[in-house]
Amino acid sequence: MTARGEETAALALHRFGFGPVPGSIVAIAHDPRGALLADLERPAAGWLSARMPSSEQAARAVFEFRAEQQAKQKLAQRAAKEAEAKSAAQATSDVTKAALAPAPPGPKPPENKGPQLPQQFIENEAQARFDAAIDADIGFVERLVWFWSNHFCISADKDVAMVGAYEREAIRPHVLGRFAEMLQAVERHPAMLFYLDNIRSMGADSIAGINGDKGLNENLAREILELHTLGVRSGYSQQDVTSFANVLTGWSWVDPGEPEHGGEFVFVKLLHQPGDQVVLGKPYPDSGATQGRAVLADLARHPATERHIAHKLACHFVADEPPPTLIDKLANRFKETDGNLKEVAKTLVTADESWTPRRTKLKPPSQWIVATLRLTGGQRPVAQAASNMDVTRVGVTKWPIGRTLAVQAALGEALWRPPAPNGWPDTEAAWIDGVPHRLDVANEIAGRLPAGLDPLTLLDSGLGPLASRDTRETIARAESRNQALALLVMTPEFLRR
């Protein structure tokens, strides 16, 4: 295979995928673009095979778990109080709340056996997500999943139960489908409605609004316009935000404490602002829940949305300041195909602008961790045993999922916990300060690698012709294999894409 083909292949794997695994540069060198296009055509691309609880099931389970914890605490407090004041007067206790979650008194179950239930949900979901990225041949579709998940982000800091299921339910099914459908799935997902405070938003003239003291919450409407569709300063007004928020009143969830349907989406007519609304100059007659769907459908094909998405995709995959002609191509394709995301992805990899040999993008920590684990033998994170005490036939490598999450958080990009609804930043400026911290992670990963990995072979597998002579020399002259491997994943060629 020509060096040129291998160079393009290495570029393709780093820029559009999760980085090479040993052999993959050579494997796709005859047709790197074709390999990326083929990744989009795989059956069930974007889906996870792992079976995990739905967001409603997770929400109910976490609710029950918390209620039980609360009851246990109350019982313990009560016991302490009774012991303390045995001779004193009987303390009155608040039984109404305890009744919500009846927990029979009994022997205390052992505490601290492994991660608690909410953390288990996160770890299982994270495990499936990492496995998909690490096991992928190229990982282009998984990269798209990560992109859209960040575009429509929610945070586990606000609701831990649904965050993994949300990605599987609202993002993955549509990642090669239509943007309009992903938008509908995302905005009516209970996790999003909770995250952006819509579940208790009510119209001033709704039944609940008249009877109660609370009113409109604009958060969801504003972020849909500003972040999810049109983009900031794209011409909408405060009046548009308010009207849209009125449209969305009533989009809510069934309280997770409700045993059968808790956590499901529900349209609550009592919360909904009655009457027609005008958003971006267009009147939307009051049709209940479908009023919001109609607005979303129009937002999905708004020209500002096309450009906003096109810019973000180009910025994510190609350059912090992508070529305007690439943005044009993506926006046009989006328009031509009515937001067919597979067609947009095809345009992304067939546009010449996407193949600039200047590799200026800095991989964010999460992508760098995955790229590192892929190159160094596909060691995937494994569920941590209840105890970290063990005997091993040495040579067995373990990289617990909890550790992966901790490392990613330490590098400033905690999984599913972005600090704000605009998600993690996508530019060099946001991540470059943290690069020195990655060196210690590289050092640790290098230390865990199995015997006999040759750094120069791995350099060829991971970078191929992209590796500069200086880089090659730095690796060859390292003091030890460990040092060489740590340096390898810290080279500019490996950090950038």
């Binding site: 210690d440 230390g447 003091e479």
Partner: protein, 407 residues
């Protein structure tokens, strides 16, 4: 936009493993009423043997190393071992042990490897094979396989130690080995940072500047305790001492393992070697403190202990153009422990004239390191000599075990 990152590299605390140990008693030695402990420390990066133990009695010593020659009456006087050799002044603990007949220096010593690649050299040092070849087991593990286990020393069996991620090749292999990880970890060394920074300066100014800013930030953060900076001397010292001290603590327990190994990196001193005051001096000081920690940690078991420190090869006899030394051949093996017939430097001294040097540049090897290791395994752990020659160090029949190392 700036986002939160850990405030210094030190805050990214990561577990890393150091000690690997065998959980059995060597039965034969035990039958003799002995309870030997054996700790192998691999020094990765190639230790400059002439800087660790200087041949101050050699007439060509000063002309060879000039200002970098350690002397008994130098600015920082070397510690006298015998009429010919003196120890680096950074190693007072080892010196005390030597004086108490608890340490042996083997000089002009090397593995059979005669090339100068770290990777191959380390493989050969740890695999025990005569040629560089991929191996998935090390000589120490194969030696353990050959010993008849006198029963598990730890009746609780498998729950004795945590899994350690870093596994030196020397202990890999069929014999099950326990591993332990310290909570504290060695961040990437200053040397690794420097190598990376050199590359960034050539290839990527933005990454270089991020790295430089971070180093500056840490220097300010740790000013007053400058040496505490991640990967800096004090931290290296702390890490070496913790790793070695913990190893000793385990080996000392009545129901603890008897054989262990750990690896300490950082000996590749191409630039500004700092033999008497700089980097190597600090590393040797850290190593010396670690030996002190082993002796303390072993307690009464010290008299049944042998610690052996080995490195993949030595360094050039001459100082190079950047006040360092390049990859060489023969070096020292350092032995410490109460079980030794110590107080001796063992050397068939090859001399330092250019014609005496290996390929006119390196200290010439006159003692095969395998002879030292075989002698220790045979006399201390009671490994079988034939097994040593065939399985542990294959093809080493002609390399006789060095006798009389242990008492």
């Amino acid at each position: 936009m700036r986002f939160f990152h850990a405030s210094s590299r030190r805050d990214v605390l990561l577990a890393s493993g150091t000690l690997f140990a065998w959980a059995h008693l060597p039965k034969l030695a035990h039958a003799e009423g002995r309870d030997p402990r054996f700790l192998t420390i691999i020094l990765r990066g190639a230790l400059d043997g002439l800087a660790a133990v200087a041949p101050v009695g050699d007439p060509n010593w000063v002309s060879l190393r000039g200002d970098n020659a350690l002397l008994l009456d130098g600015k920082t006087p070397a510690l006298k071992l015998d009429s010919f050799f003196a120890l680096n002044p950074a190693m007072p603990n080892l010196h005390h042990m030597f004086q108490a007949s608890e340490a042996i220096v083997v000089h002009a010593c090397a593995t059979p490897y005669r090339e100068r690649s770290h990777f191959d050299g380390q493989d050969l040092l740890e695999s025990g094979l005569p040629n560089p070849a991929m191996s998935d087991s090390g000589w120490l593990n194969r030696a353990l396989t050959s010993l008849t286990p006198g029963g598990r020393v730890d009746p609780r069996g498998s729950k004795a130690f945590a899994v350690g991620p870093v596994t030196p090749l020397v202990v890999r292999g069929p014999a099950p080995v326990l591993s332990w990880s310290p909570q504290k970890v060695m961040p990437a060394s200053e040397d690794t940072v420097k190598r990376l920074l050199d590359l960034y300066r050539q290839a990527d100014v933005k990454l270089a500047s991020a790295m430089e800013d971070n180093e500056r930030l840490m220097a300010i953060q740790h000013s007053g305790e400058m040496a505490q900076k991640p990967g800096g001397p004090a931290q290296v010292r702390g890490y070496f001492a913790e790793a070695a001290g913990m190893a000793a603590k385990f080996l000392a327990q009545p129901d603890g393992p008897r054989v262990g190994a750990l690896a300490l990196d950082g000996w590749d001193t191409h630039n500004n070697e700092g033999i008497a005051n700089g980097r190597l001096s600090q590393l040797l000081g850290a190593l010396d403190a670690a030996l002190g920690a082993v002796k303390t940690g072993m307690g009464p078991a010290w008299r049944e202990t042998v610690v052996v420190l080995v490195t993949e090869f030595g360094r050039t006899a001459h100082i190079n153009g950047t006040d360092g030394t390049d990859h060489g051949t023969a070096t020292v093996a350092l032995l410490a422990g109460g079980a030794l017939k110590g107080g001796r430097v063992i050397a068939d001294w090859p001399g330092l004239r250019t014609a005496d040097l290996y390929e006119n540049r390196d200290l010439k090897p006159t003692t095969d390191l395998r002879a030292v290791l075989k002698g220790l395994l045979k006399d201390h752990l009671r490994a079988d000599e034939r097994v040593l020659a065939e399985n542990v160090f294959p093809g080493s029949k002609g390399v006789r075990p060095l006798a009389e190392l242990v008492s």
